[in-house]
Amino acid sequence: MSAAASTTTPGAQAEEEILRVDHLTMFFPIRQGILQRRTGWVQAVDDVSFSIRRGETLGLVGESGCGKSTAGRAILQLYKPTAGSVFFEGKDLTKMGTGDLRRARRHMQIVFQDPYASLNSRLTIGSIVAEPLEIHHLGDARERQRRVNELLEVVGLDPSMASRFPHEFSGGQRQRIGIARALALNPSFIVCDEPISALDVSIQAQVINLLQELQETYGLTYLFIAHDLSVVRHISDRVAVMYLGKIVEITSRRELYDRPLHPYTMALLSAVPIPDPEVERKRRRMILTGDVPSPVNPPKGCRFNTRCPFAQPLCREEEPPLVQADATHQVACHLWDVIQAAGGTRALPVVSAGGDTAPAGTPPPA
């Protein structure tokens, strides 16, 4: 079902929704004691909604523990979501039986972060790439062989290497193998879960380019999960920012980087080092105080209020809904328009050295 080779120009965004996530919630129980009583929940993903259009790349960014990977896996039903629905090509995956789900999975795949842990070290790379074909009973042995060769070639590996084992390959090559495996069933949608984080700098660009080429050739749709905002800026059409299990802002790549509305997005952008000494010297940097609170016991009200330089009493009481700031820009902040009126990013308090010593939850500067 290779999607007609639609290219991913911005114009393609007008096309239909391939995936819609509605109020997706994923809590993990915490059990303690011999009786394994439930003593609490890790609220990894809490009421997350968004959609992805065919051929688009949606970047999902956030710091570790914000729930971005969990969201990716819950979408693919690798975890059974606690609540909410996931519509893939119009059908709700959360309501599907095992058989239907298996058939749907042919069209959605995942590329994992760790190319060392995600390949079975006892299988040859040929069998690794052929496994999805076997599971779905596609083709006979010879056809599979042919398909494996084709896939290896597509990801830039020599088909003659099919009989080798994963340990014989470098990290970048293993990630190519993982991508070949994800492509085996001709999926239309791929969750890329931090696909380059474990790779060396000079290899990262090779894999990013490969993912982009494949997207153009096969009309793939990506959910690109990453913590590196520079990479997300490079590869995404739209970007969603997560904090403590919630989406705090979602908009086009350009809007997000040019006009961030949520204070957390502003802080994230300002924290990314830029490889240019002159830019770095002139930059105003907003440094957040404290650490990310625990998702077991997230703060009341806005989850970002304990670290937010703009927080007001309202923010500690009431959780801000994700609202439409304009046609293409959603933000979950009570004060976004006030902050914008005050000059947006320029309204950020200037860093004082060591300003991070204040305990989380200090009163906001005026």
């Binding site: 830039g156 290497m161 290899i203 490079h234 924290a271 080092p273 440094i287 957040l288």
Partner: protein, 374 residues
């Protein structure tokens, strides 16, 4: 370069690891210096020898590694010639080091306070009470909130960023003149990374300490250091003031690194320009420049001889036969004349790598993937 002004001077340092598959030459003749109060960046990818260089300076190279040559001058003495007891007096005292992964360097069953006071009692002979007071001061200095009440907590009660602060507090406990920070923020989230980098800069300004910052992240280097050493395959291939490293890189590897990373402050271009191929096998000792198989500027001479660092501009040294400003780039692995280089280096690579396997497909496949698949 041997004037007395340098705080630390490393000359022709060589460190090897004897493995079953052969001798891994992790550091292959590295020379550089750090001045008082200066911040030096040591940049490169994993396996380039940047961490081993630091461990060699500290005298902490793990078995089966061994420093096999060179000199490390500090305080008028070659550290490599000192006894272990004499080095112990310098290590952790005058030269301190912090690591990427604080949790593996903290004792899980000892309180944070005890871990900070221990070096003070050993190196400085402080009483328990004085050391504890100093520990709380240090924790405040590195920005640990409510230090007095958290001094008796255990490492697992601290977050990743706070643990790195504890490591820094321990490193600072004896007022070192030089702090070596090995990927101090790599394991941290970006907002926490910003906090730690800010802290390092503030401490440097307040305490006048020199810093060697080891990282693979060019962005981290850009904001903090005065000079940059770029390392590749156990060699320093370029050294320059930080502004020149970024504005006017002269080594093809540095140039390639800059072109291959997306930047937050730049709009999406069509494609990144990756460095092709993969880093070399350090067991391989074939002649020539180690970057040559991946280098788009390689000339015939690069197969024969490994270039040494030469002055390319004021305070700017690079180890390259080619002047990248004038040479036209070509496909790596092809000689500029157009002949494919299946010659001496490729052959040496496959034979020497039979045991390690990993390097031979690495060297062979990735270029074809880039060049030939479509």
């Amino acid at each position: 370069m041997a004037d007395a002004g340098h705080l630390l001077e490393v000359r022709d340092l060589r460190t090897q690891f004897s493995m079953r598959d052969g001798v891994v030459q992790a550091v292959r003749g590295v020379s550089f210096h750090v001045d008082r109060g200066e911040a030096l960046g040591l940049v490169g990818e994993s396996g380039c020898g940047k961490s081993v260089t630091a461990l060699s300076i500290m005298g902490l190279v793990p078995h089966p590694g061994r420093v096999v040559g060179g000199e490390v001058w500090y305080g008028g003495r070659d550290q490599l010639k000192l006894s272990e007891a004499e080095r112990q007096k310098i290590r952790g005292n005058e030269i301190a080091m912090i690591f990427q992964d604080p949790i593996s360097y903290l004792n899980p069953v000892m309180t944070i306070g005890r871990q900070i006071t221990e070096p003070l009692e050993i190196h400085r002979g402080m009483t328990h009470r004085a050391a504890r007071k100093r520990a709380i001061e240090l924790m405040e200095l590195v920005g640990i909130p409510a230090a007095a009440s958290r001094v008796d907590s255990y490492p697992h009660q601290y977050s990743g960023g706070m643990r790195q602060r504890v490591m820094i507090a321990m490193a600072l406990s004896c007022d070192p003149k030089l702090l070596i920070a090995d990927e101090p923020t790599t394991a941290l989230d970006v907002t926490i990374q910003a906090q730690i980098l800010e802290l390092l800069q503030r401490l440097r300004a307040e305490l006048g300490m020199a810093l060697i910052l080891i990282t693979h992240d060019l962005g981290v280097v850009a904001g903090i250091v005065d000079r940059v050493n770029v390392m590749y395959a156990g060699y320093i291939v370029e050294t320059a003031p930080v502004a020149d490293t970024f504005r006017d890189p002269r080594h093809p590897y540095s140039l390639g690194l800059m072109a291959s990373i997306p930047r937050l402050d730049q709009a999406r271009g069509d494609r990144l320009r990756p460095i092709q191929g993969a880093p070399p096998d350090l067991i391989d000792t074939s002649a020539g420049c180690p970057f040559q198989p991946r280098c788009p500027y390689a000339a015939p001479v690069c197969l024969e001889d490994n270039p040494t660092l030469e002055l390319a501009a004021p305070r700017h040294w690079t180890a390259c036969w080619v002047d990248v400003r004038n040479a036209p780039p070509h496909e790596p692995g092809e000689a500029p004349t157009g002949q494919p280089t299946a010659g001496p280096s490729a052959a040496a690579r496959t034979t020497s790598a039979t045991a390690t396997g990993a390097a031979s497909p690495a060297a062979a496949a990735a270029p074809t993937g880039q060049g030939g698949s479509r």
